[in-house]
């Protein structure tokens, strides 16, 4: 049985790992590659590196980071942040990234998803979506969650799938940084309407939150940052408790 994945997310700014609380306050948590290795050894199934400065500063390439990670780690990883072209993706995959995630650039130019999945295969194209509930509707935001768009979460996720996304990384901005649990209702809805895997992000605060995201929301992977960075939950303990609940875990 395919295992549910535990994915620490390393937000990177100026080459250092940080985690924003609701994307605003930033705290420093070390060297991304060293931290990634620590997580890999602790049993993380996959890693996501997001360059959170990228969208604002238009930074194009994270190839050097991809290269260092691929050199030192033997689990898969995704790199995202400011990726907007075929050339960006080519450079990252060529430097050892397994997948890339695109966010604002896909909203601005949805056909980018078609072009990337056709050229590199769906399996390495993750469409990341940041959304927040506004007047009863989940609205997609871009530019690191700072700019609301007209797009609605579920229709955008479906469109991304139809255009060739291999995976959706959905971050609930309402839940991100709160540690009150994932956006279970929205995730469950999304899981029921898509045929590609969903990575749940935003709100993890306890082991039970992961149990809920896999059993109630039927997410394929659970992503978190600060609770891992500040050792509030240890990955071995998390995985062993999930296993005890009968959830398939590596």
């Amino acid at each position: 049985m395919l295992a549910k994945r535990i994915i620490p997310c390393l937000d990177v700014m100026n080459g250092r790992t940080v985690k924003g609380i609701n994307f605003e306050q930033l705290r420093d948590a070390g060297d991304p590659v060293e931290l990634g290795k620590l997580y890999s050894d602790a049993g993380a199934d996959e890693l996501v590196f997001l360059d959170i400065t990228a969208t604002k500063e238009k930074r194009k390439t994270l190839a050097a980071l991809a290269d260092r990670v691929a050199h030192h780690l033997n689990i898969p990883f995704t790199i995202g942040g400011g990726i907007a072209s075929l050339e960006d993706v080519d450079a990252l995959l060529d430097h050892g990234a397994d997948k890339v995630s695109i966010n604002s650039s896909a909203v601005r130019d949805p056909e980018l998803i078609d072009r990337l999945s056709k050229k590199f295969g769906s399996q390495c194209i993750v469409v990341a979506i940041d959304a927040r509930e506004m007047d009863g509707e989940w609205r997609v935001h871009v530019a690191g969650g700072t700019i609301p768009t007209d797009r609605e979460l579920f229709s955008w996720a479906r469109e991304a799938q139809e255009r060739g996304a291999g995976e959706i990384l959905f971050t609930s901005m309402d839940h991100d940084g709160t540690k009150n649990g994932f956006a279970l209702k929205a995730l469950k809805l999304m899981s029921g309407s898509l045929s590609i895997p969903i990575i749940a992000s935003g709100g993890a605060g306890s082991i039970n939150d992961f149990v809920d995201v896999f059993t109630i929301a039927e997410a394929d992977a659970g992503l978190a940052a600060s609770i891992f960075h500040f050792q509030e939950i240890s990955i071995p303990e998390l995985k062993s408790e999930l296993k005890q609940k009968g959830i398939p875990i590596r």
Partner: protein, 195 residues
């Protein structure tokens, strides 16, 4: 020992090179036919799309060279699928080392496609799996699969049982990514280097 990693137009070939480096092997990362033919071991890696990759292999002459190799060859993921006869992915004629057709996973009973993540290998046999791989997790990411057949040397179950690994003579292949499968994957690569 000379290990050649075929450097062709597909993503993620560098990960294999680094995985070998972690095992103490300084592989050659090459698309030059003489270097590939003279290597003791050849690895044919890759993530990508079948038809454009096959076109590249044809244009570079590698499509003739790879099936004629006599040293141990390991195809990984797309590499394994291209070693088959035909792929449903954009109706692509492949290398024909394994006389099999590659089929597309159809999403079923809430199971997602691509098959992405860690899954278990069963009924493992052959030189690639001398350790204790049976029932262990390896990392998969693919939307197409090779059915279980006479060449299957490890089975995985997802939607249907499929070939997680295959072997025919000197040709070895894994659908999963040993270079991304933690310690289990490192052991499998080590086993290949010892063949």
């Amino acid at each position: 020992m000379k290990v050649a990693v075929i450097d062709y137009n597909a993503g993620n070939t560098r990960s294999v090179y680094y995985a070998l480096q972690r095992l103490g092997v300084d592989a050659i990362f090459t698309e030059k036919i003489p270097e590939i033919e003279l290597a003791d071991k050849v690895i044919f890696p890759g993530v990508g799309e079948a038809s454009s990759t096959m076109q590249y292999l044809k244009d570079s002459g590698l499509s003739k060279v790879i099936p004629s190799l006599t040293q141990p060859v390991l195809g990984i993921c797309l590499g394994m699928q291209l070693m088959c006869k035909w792929s449903e992915e954009n109706d692509t004629d492949c290398l024909g080392i394994f006389d099999l057709n590659v089929q597309k996973f159809l999403p079923e009973q809430g199971e997602k496609v691509p098959h992405m993540g860690w899954n278990k290998c069963y009924d493992v046999k052959g030189e690639l799996f001398r350790g204790s791989i049976e029932g262990n997790y390896t990392y998969f990411v693919h939307s197409y699969y090779v059915p279980v057949c006479q060449f299957t040397s490890a089975r995985c179950d997802y939607i249907h049982p499929f070939s997680a690994a295959m072997q025919r003579d000197n040709f070895f292949a894994t659908q999963f990514h040993p270079e991304k499968s933690g310690l289990v994957g490192a052991e499998i690569l080590q086993n290949f280097l010892k063949i």
